[in-house]
């Protein structure tokens, strides 16, 4: 057990280091802004006094590295700074946005993961059958669609034509949970379709890879029943690559959520990011980027750790 703990701690440390480096990059990129941000916000007609006062207010008169450490320190304590556009504390509204996004992502994952595993397993078992070929064609087509295309098709068929679900998902915390669920179904379905194809293909590839190993061949030559071959011999070795695939796709979900949130006007972190980019509200963009990067790094870390734990050779290296 201690070797597992050691590896987890090692990877966690690496993740923190990466997050630290990422924060430096995000802060550094903002420094590269050509011209002054004050000029961009206050406009051409601002007097020098206004510019100087504004600079002092948002702290630009101090050197870059001091500002960076202040920002970092504040972030660790939970103070994410102030939005330039609305003058509110960012940590106020980012919390709800983040939980909304996680709710949407969680819903999509809950639908997509079991479906992808089952369909991928079946496709791998009945390889080269009609079912497999159809699945292959459908997934290849599906991963080629942009997310907003899938979103609008779903809106067209399920919302406008059939009237089942609302086309705009204005979810808020004071709604009942079932109502929240109802409004979130269309965006969750869109995300599911986008991610399902990826996961299905990767699961299928992982299992096919596994089934061609010599020991599986030996088991079937021995006369073992197919059921036992799959569940007793193949599946324990398949968990590693499969969970790896799932974690990587969940990370991809974090990114795909941005476009879907914009289409459905879902009040999540992705929409906040896009809005802030259009308004050039840099503190909010920075805060959102760090949060997204942290979630992404965490999920990749998780995939890493699971693939190490599930492989005894990596767990006890010589």
């Amino acid at each position: 057990m201690s070797s597992v703990l050691k590896i987890v701690l090692q990877r966690l440390g690496l993740g923190f280091l990466t997050l630290f480096a990422v924060s430096i990059i995000i802060a550094f990129v903002v420094e590269l802004l050509p011209g002054d941000i004050t000029q961009a916000i206050l406009g051409q007609s601002a007097t020098p006094e206004t510019v100087a006062a504004f600079r002092k207010e948002i702290g630009l008169d101090r050197p870059a590295h001091i500002r960076y450490f202040e920002w970092l320190g504040g972030m660790v304590q939970g103070d994410l700074g102030q939005s330039l556009a609305s003058k509110r504390e960012i940590s106020e509204f980012v919390g709800t946005r983040l939980s909304n996004t996680l709710f949407l992502g969680g819903l999509a994952a809950a639908i997509a993961v079991p479906l992808a595993l089952i369909l991928g397993l079946l496709a791998a078992l009945y390889r080269n059958s009609i079912y497999d070929r159809i699945v292959n064609l459908l997934t290849l087509t599906s991963i080629s669609f942009p997310e907003f295309f899938v979103a609008y098709i779903l809106i067209l068929f399920l919302s406008v034509k059939a009237g089942f679900f609302p086309g705009i998902s204005n979810v808020s915390t004071d709604l009942a949970f079932s109502e929240q669920l109802f409004r979130t179904i269309l965006p969750a379905l869109t995300l599911t379709l986008v991610v399902l194809a990826h996961m299905l293909r990767m699961t299928r590839a992982a299992i096919i890879n596994l089934l061609s190993s010599p020991y599986i061949e030996m088991a079937s030559l021995k006369g073992t029943k197919p059921f036992r071959i799959i569940f007793h011999h193949a599946l324990p070795n398949a968990w590693g690559p499969i969970v790896n695939v799932i974690a990587l796709n969940l990370a991809y979900l974090v990114v795909g959520v941005v476009v879907v949130e914009v289409v459905f006007v879902y009040p999540g972190l992705g929409q906040l990011l896009v809005d802030s980019v259009s308004k050039r509200d840099l503190p909010v963009v920075q805060a959102c980027s760090i949060i997204f990067a942290a979630v992404y790094i965490l999920l990749n870390l998780f995939a890493d750790i699971v693939s190490i734990i599930s492989n005894p050779r990596l767990l006890h290296p010589r």
Binding site: F149, V258, V277
Partner: protein, 275 residues
């Protein structure tokens, strides 16, 4: 090569045909389009008629013209971006494989950190800072994508660099440029070509998504992503016109994916096993 094309599965042949059609439309856009790209020719949201084959968009420009010019803009920009990404990432990957040691470690770490930020988020951040002009769009996305190309080209080059003929070339005193040109490149072309197709699809979808979010190719330039966003309200009126640019995007990506799938099959030698 014609023989390999002949023996390809139906999906790959269809894919090649579709790609050729798209490139044809993109290159000959000014000749094929009935109106000028940004000319306002009628009222907003006209229905499909003889005068405007696919109706007009939200401010009265002809949809068919915008679709045709959109092909040129979107495909052209995506192609230029992937080319740049391959030049930068491919060269760095090959250099990392040849030089090894310190260079490999440092470049590898930097690439890992850059890849730790999800690409859409990073692109949005950089676009906030540098603005959304076309050169900055191309350079930013090429930079982000060159990290992935770096990984692929480095791993492919690593396999070749350890071979005896490369060692022989080194001992003969050949310079690095010669080794890259004559020994490495011919041997890693196959996986890089397949990756080119995949990267093109990804960048194409990426630019369309960015334009859809309003942060990519700016109006009045015709671009399929922003066309979907501008005409999106038509969906609520049960009109499928705003989906036409999206279908165009999907069509090209599907075709390229089919062709790349076939190419991967060829290069991995699984073809016999699969059929």
């Amino acid at each position: 090569m014609l023989k390999t094309l002949w023996s390809a599965p139906l999906t790959a042949k269809l894919g090649v045909l579709v790609i050729i059609c798209y490139v044809f439309v993109a290159v000959l856009a000014p000749v094929l389009a009935p109106y000028k790209e940004t000319a306002i020719v009628g009222a907003s949201y006209e229905l499909w008629s003889d005068e405007y084959l696919l109706g007009t968009d939200n401010i009265g420009r002809d949809m068919l013209t915008r679709l045709i010019f959109g092909a040129r803009n979107t495909i052209g920009i995506a192609f230029a971006t992937v080319l740049l990404a391959f030049i930068v990432g491919g060269t760095l990957g090959m250099l990392a494989a040849i030089l090894g040691g310190w260079y490999d470690l440092v470049i590898g770490r930097i690439v890992d950190i850059l890849m730790a930020i999800p690409s859409l988020v990073f692109a949005l951040l950089l676009l906030t800072v540098f603005g959304t002009s076309i050169p900055s769009l191309v350079i930013i996305i090429a930079l982000l994508d060159s990290t992935r190309v770096f990984r692929i080209s480095r791993s492919a080059a690593m396999n070749v660099v350890v071979m005896e003929f490369v060692e022989a070339a080194r001992l003969r005193g050949e310079g690095m440029a010669w080794i890259i040109r004559k020994e490495l490149l011919p041997n890693i072309t196959a996986p890089l070509l397949a990756e080119f197709g995949l990267r093109f699809c990804f960048v194409f979808l990426f630019i369309a998504s960015l334009s859809f979010l309003g942060l990519g190719i700016q109006p009045p330039l015709a671009d399929w992503g922003s066309m979907v966003r501008e005409n999106a309200t038509l969906i609520t009126y049960n009109d499928i016109t705003p989906l036409l640019p999206a279908v165009a995007i999907a069509g090209l990506t599907v075709a390229v994916n089919f062709v790349v799938d076939w190419m991967l099959h060829l290069s991995s030698g699984l073809k016999k096993e699969h059929q």
